[in-house]
Symmetry: C2
DNA sequence: CAAATGCTTCGACTAGGAACGAAGTATGAA
DNA sequence: TTCATACTTCGTTCCTAGTCGAAGCATTTG
C-alpha cells in the first residue's frame, strides 16, 4: 500500500518451483521451446504453456515464433541480473541444492551465464584483464570500460569492437558469480569473447545445458593469453 | 531438479503482497516491530506474526528481542540488494504503483535506501565525488574505493575513516537507484555520511517512513560541499 | 489431401496457504 | 499480585493457483 514498484508480482512469478526451473534454464541464454522447458521444469506440457504465458505477461520472458516452435528467452539483461542476485543470496544462505552430480565440477569450471562465460575460467579472465590494467572504471557512470591498451589487446584477439560500441548494450559489465562470489566479465564484450572462443575452437557449448566444454588446446591457449600473477 | 541455488523459495517469500510490503518497509533500515509491520502490510497481527516467522526462517530477516518488543531488520545487505534489483526491474517495466500521493516528490528528492541516502541528492553526491576523482575502482576486486584526496575530503567532513576500514563491510559500494536509474553511494561510508548529515542537522529522517527531510540550511551546505560540473 | 508435430485452451480436481479470531504465553508496569 | 501490552499458537474458513488429460488449432511433412 506504500510507495515503490510492485515487487510482489515478480516475486510470485519466480516463486513457483516450475517457473523458477524454467528461468534458471533460460539463464543459459539459449532460446528454448515450450516442450524443452516443460521437461526442464519436470511438468506437463499444458502446465508449462500456462506458466510461460504468465512469465511473458509478467514481462520476464520474450517469445519468438519460428515455424511450429515457440522459443522463449529472458526478456532482458535486467531479468538475468535479478536472477543472479537471487542465486547469490540463496547460495550465501547455504540453501544450495547440493545435488552434487557429475555435472557440478564442469559447471564450476566453465559455464554460460545468460550469454557470457562464467565459472573458474571466466573469473581468471577478469582477473587477468584487470591486473594488466586493461579495464578501468568510469566512476561517474560507474560503468566498466576498456583502457586503450585493453582495446588493442581485445582487437588482437580478433574481436571487432566497433559494432559492440554502437549497440545500446554496455560493452563491459561486471557480473557477480554465485559459485565463485567473484566478478567476471559480462556485457557485449563478455558475450563477444565467448563467441570468439567458440569460433577458435577453444570452447564448445553443450546443447541444452549451461556447461561450456573447454578443449585441451583451448585450455592451454587461454592460460597463455590470460595470465594471472 | 537441476544445478543451482534454490531461487523459488526466496521468490515465493517475496511473492506474497503482505510480505513484500513488510520487506519494502524494512528497506528503510529501521528495525520495526511486529505491530508496525502488520499495519504497514495492512494485515492482522496474527497473520503478520506468521509471515515474519516465515521470512526469518527463509533467512531474509533477523530479529532482535528487546523487552516485550520484537524488532525485525533485513538479514543483511545482500537482501537489500536483491530487493533493489527487483524494484529496478519492476520500475523498468512500468509496473510502478503510481500512487502519486504527496509523499512521492519527497521520496524522489531524498530517501533512505537500506541504511544510506538515496534519491536526487544522493545521486548528486555520487556524481560530485566521482567528478572530482575522489572515487576510484579497483578493477581486480571491482570494488569502489576512496582515493587519497577522497579520504582527506571525507575526513574534513568530520567522518573518522578508521573504524569503517576495520569493519567487514565494504567502505564504498555503488547502489543502483530504482527512481533515478543512476548510482549512488552505499556501503559503510554511505551509511556514515547519512549519519553525519543528521548530526550536522542537515538531514532528518521522518520516523516510520523512508523519507529524509533536508533542511534549507542543509540543502545550501550540501550544494556547496558537493558541487557538480 | 492426410498425418504428425507443437502448442493452446478448457474443465475438473486438489492442495497449499493466507486470512481471521480466540485463547494462550511472556514481559513490563502499577 | 494484578493488570496491560506485545506477541504467538491454534483451529477454522476460504480461495487462489498449480496440476493433469482431453480436445482443439496451427503449421509442417509425407
Amino acid at each position: 500500500m506504500k510507495e515503490g514498484p510492485d515487487i510482489a508480482q515478480i516475486g510470485a512469478l519466480i516463486g513457483d518451483p516450475a517457473r523458477a526451473n524454467m528461468l534458471t534454464a533460460l539463464m543459459s541464454g539459449k532460446a528454448l521451446t515450450v516442450s524443452e522447458l516443460a521437461q526442464e521444469a519436470g511438468v506437463g506440457l499444458s502446465t508449462a504453456s500456462s506458466h510461460l504465458t504468465k512469465l511473458q505477461d509478467g514481462g520476464l520472458l520474450s517469445q519468438a515464433k519460428q515455424g511450429r516452435h515457440r522459443y522463449f528467452t529472458l526478456a532482458g539483461p535486467e531479468v538475468g541480473e535479478v536472477l543472479e542476485a537471487l542465486m547469490g543470496l540463496a547460495a550465501h544462505q547455504g540453501h544450495l541444492r547440493t545435488r552434487t552430480g557429475p555435472k557440478d565440477p564442469a559447471l564450476r569450471a566453465a559455464r554460460v551465464c545468460y550469454d557470457h562465460l562464467a565459472g573458474d575460467m571466466a573469473v581468471r579472465i577478469f582477473d587477468s584483464l584487470s591486473q594488466r590494467d586493461f579495464l578501468s572504471l568510469d566512476t561517474h557512470t560507474s560503468s566498466l570500460a576498456l583502457t586503450h591498451e585493453g582495446e588493442n589487446f581485445v582487437e588482437k584477439l580478433g574481436i571487432d569492437l566497433e559494432p559492440l560500441k554502437k549497440g545500446r548494450r554496455p560493452v563491459c559489465r561486471s557480473c557477480l558469480d554465485w559459485s565463485e562470489r567473484r566478478n567476471h566479465l559480462a556485457g557485449a564484450l563478455g558475450a563477444a569473447l565467448l563467441t570468439r572462443f567458440q569460433d577458435l575452437g577453444w570452447a564448445r557449448r553443450e546443447k541444452a545445458s549451461r556447461i561450456v566444454q573447454i578443449s585441451p588446446a583451448g585450455q592451454q591457449e587461454l592460460l597463455k593469453v590470460f595470465p594471472v600473477a
